[in-house]
């Protein structure tokens, strides 16, 4: 058995047999989608000034720049106001639905389209936080990030609850698709997206690379659905599962490497700076008008030289050290907590809430599974508590049958335990 197999074989079994880190990929899915969603809602009154056809960086200027670099943005397909509103609305909707995990993979593609469309339209309005979301939105498409904490997982759990014996009896192992529910929305979504893609292809707005990517994604989805429907226990289905796991694991690896590169770059370049060496670096941003939303607080912090020295050195040490601490679980977790706290402070003190939220989310990919599951438990209890309160208030008013309340919370229970794939 596994114990006596050589590490290579064991590793191979893992990366082909499981989509690793189901909780970690779920938390970053929720985190990045929520960050972008909150950002879009916050900027709703400013959306025309930032991305609209008549913005200071107007459509023609964007066109000239994009002609040179070939960046993807659906906003360049038309300079109409209606089209702009459609794209912005779709960006908002896709982030909300990705956060909830509704048809997660399709939403991850739409989420990426929304992020790239808006950000590439006006590249001079963004900052580091936008950059993180831009990169992660492309990587998220590769992952099976809806295995847990998603509407998809709940739907699968409900279906499995109905046909549990059969599914386990035949497939033997617990598989994410063991009891694939009959999904009516999926095919409709597929057709709508497919027809839209066909129309866009016809207009000739997409370059060859993006055509290959989008048609490829659509074809793979179609194949996945057809095989799952016709031959759910076939070899081909197992092969597809293996490939999906491989792509997921590669995507997860790249997300982790990306997070390490962010810290490594930030840290190693800081080491070379005289202000980071003499311990005053943190003093300066606190005194910039654009990064001091609470001048009194900034002044207070800026007046304590030794505190600033500690923060300055601590920041560099953490950033440089972080990638190496991944080899030691305990040190990694301590550092992770410290870095999340630092970003939370940055959110307030430097007035960069969305940047900080994006960075905290990127950090979250390294959180231990045990902690994330506890977090999930708290969230579920909070949700069930809230639901029970609402239901009891309703039942007092409408005398809802007791039994129905019971069956609902059972569903919630089943959803919470709908963890599939790899868990240590």
């Amino acid at each position: 058995m596994i114990r006596v197999e050589r590490p290579l074989t064991r590793g191979l079994g893992k990366v082909t047999g499981f989509a690793l880190g189901p909780y970690q990929t779920a938390i970053i899915r929720i985190g990045f989608a929520a960050t972008w969603l909150f950002f879009l809602l916050r900027e709703l009154p400013h959306r025309h000034e930032m991305y609209g056809p008549d913005s200071p960086w107007n459509w023609d200027m964007a066109q000239q720049l994009i002609a040179g670099n070939g960046a993807f943005t659906a906003l360049m397909w038309s300079d109409g106001h209606v089209w702009f509103e459609i794209v912005y609305t779709l960006a908002v909707l896709s982030s909300a639905l990705l956060m909830l995990g509704w048809h997660t993979r399709a939403m991850s593609v739409l989420f990426m389209i929304g992020v790239l469309s808006l950000q590439n339209r006006s590249i001079f309005i963004g900052d580091g936080g936008d950059n993180v979301i831009h990169l992660m939105s492309t990587y998220l498409v590769l992952t099976r990030c809806g295995q847990v904490w998603s509407l998809d997982a709940r739907r699968r759990a409900r279906a499995r609850g109905g046909v549990r014996d059969e599914a386990v009896g035949e497939a033997g192992a617990l598989r994410p698709d063991a009891g694939e529910p009959v999904d009516r929305v999926g095919p409709v979504l597929w057709w709508v997206l497919g027809l839209t893609l066909a129309a866009v292809t016809f207009t000739g707005e997409l370059n060859r690379g993006w055509l290959v990517i989008f048609w490829g994604l659509l074809a793979v989805h179609g194949l996945w659905w057809a095989v799952g429907r016709r031959a759910p226990h076939s070899e081909l289905r197992k092969l597809l599962d293996v490939v999906a796991n491989l792509v997921h694991n590669a995507g997860l690896l790249i997300i982790m490497v990306e997070a390490c590169l962010i810290y490594a770059t930030a840290g190693w370049y800081k080491v070379q700076g005289s202000r980071w060496q003499d311990g005053t670096a943190v003093y300066y941003p606190l005194n910039l008008d654009y990064f001091s939303p609470w001048p009194a607080l900034s002044e207070l912090l800026a007046s304590h030289g030794l505190v600033l020295l500690a923060v300055t050195y601590g920041t560099v040490v953490m950033q440089v050290a972080f990638p190496f601490t991944l080899f030691n679980r305990r040190v990694k977790n301590v550092l992770l907590a410290a870095m999340m706290c630092e970003h939370a402070v940055i959110a307030v003190v430097l007035g960069l809430p969305f940047f900080s939220l994006a960075m905290i989310t990127a950090d979250a990919v390294f959180l231990p599974t045990s902690f994330l599951r506890r977090l999930g438990g708290w969230a579920a209890r909070a949700r069930d508590g809230a639901r029970a309160r609402v239901l009891s208030r309703l039942s007092r008013r409408e005398t809802l049958p007791e039994q129905r309340v019971g069956s609902r919370s059972q569903d919630a229970e089943a959803a919470e335990h709908a963890r599939v794939g790899f868990t240590p």
Partner: protein
């Protein structure tokens, strides 16, 4: 990588010899690639190879993109750029090697054709000070307050020489961009009366060193340094957000600006 997975394979791993036989009914079905038939196993192995190579290549490209200029990037910079741009571009030199130590304020003034047929030049409006005032006490600063003007000015400075001559297309675009932002912001201040029209605008930057910390013995001049651009002619077509979408922002913020500051 991060050690999610700690297998409890505590010391029982034997040598590479034959695997002890077990009753088949106790063995779990093989997982992943091992659970496939040979033909599909080969296909899975090919997929594994392609995905592994692609992932490693991407990681290598990312690394060289963020690394300092080096032998590899000098020899193969075009390959790396081809891979990275436009969608994987990134810059993490956040406050590094040194944080910005100057407050750069962008100011603008307008020349008005008045209703009486005369020409009037307004005072300088400190647009960055207005941004700063709108950020003060704001838990969720907007990108329009924190990034728009600040980054537009960086873009302008980065694509112009010392004599304010544009460098290439980016230079031209940055000029348009700064002009349109300044025009929009001045227009919101409605500097003229009824019937007055903004016909020309001028932009300058006011750079002030941040005073060194009080425990530091360093001396830096805190006298502002100005960089003044030539007057730009504007037409009503240049005014952003006139396509029926302008109303959204105008009400927001109020007159936070220090009119005539730094004069």
């Amino acid at each position: 990588m991060s050690g999610y997975d700690k297998d409890s394979g505590g010391g029982s791993a034997g040598p590479d010899g034959p695997v002890p036989t077990r009753a088949p009914e106790h063995a779990p079905p093989p997982i992943g690639i091992a659970g496939l038939k040979l033909g599909h196993q080969i296909a899975a192995a090919c997929a594994l190879a392609v995905i592994a190579v692609a992932a490693c290549a991407h990681v290598a490209m990312l690394f060289f993109h963020v690394a300092p200029s080096n032998t590899a990037t000098k020899q193969h910079g075009d390959v790396i750029d081809e891979w990275i741009y436009p969608e994987f571009e990134q810059n993490w030199k956040l406050f590094a090697p040194n944080p910005l130590q100057q407050n750069v304020g962008v100011q603008a003034r307008a020349e008005l054709d008045t209703a009486q047929g005369t020409v009037r030049t307004t005072d300088w409006y400190d647009l960055s000070a207005q941004d700063g005032a709108r950020i003060d006490g704001n838990p969720l600063p907007s990108h329009t307050q924190q990034n728009e003007l600040r980054r537009a000015w960086d873009f302008y400075v980065g694509s112009h020489d010392n004599k304010n001559r544009p460098i290439g297309l980016r230079g031209q675009l940055s000029e348009n961009y700064v002009r349109r932002i300044a025009y929009m912001r001045l227009d919101r201040e409605s500097p003229g009366g009824e019937g007055d029209e903004i016909v020309r605008i001028q932009v300058r930057s006011r750079t002030t060193n941040v005073r060194p910390p009080k425990w530091s013995e360093e001396k830096v001049s805190t006298k502002p340094v100005y960089r003044q651009l030539p007057w730009w002619t504007v037409t009503p077509d240049d005014l952003p957000l006139t396509g029926g979408a302008a109303g959204d922002d105008a009400a927001d913020g109020g007159r936070a600006g220090a009119k005539g500051a730094g004069r």
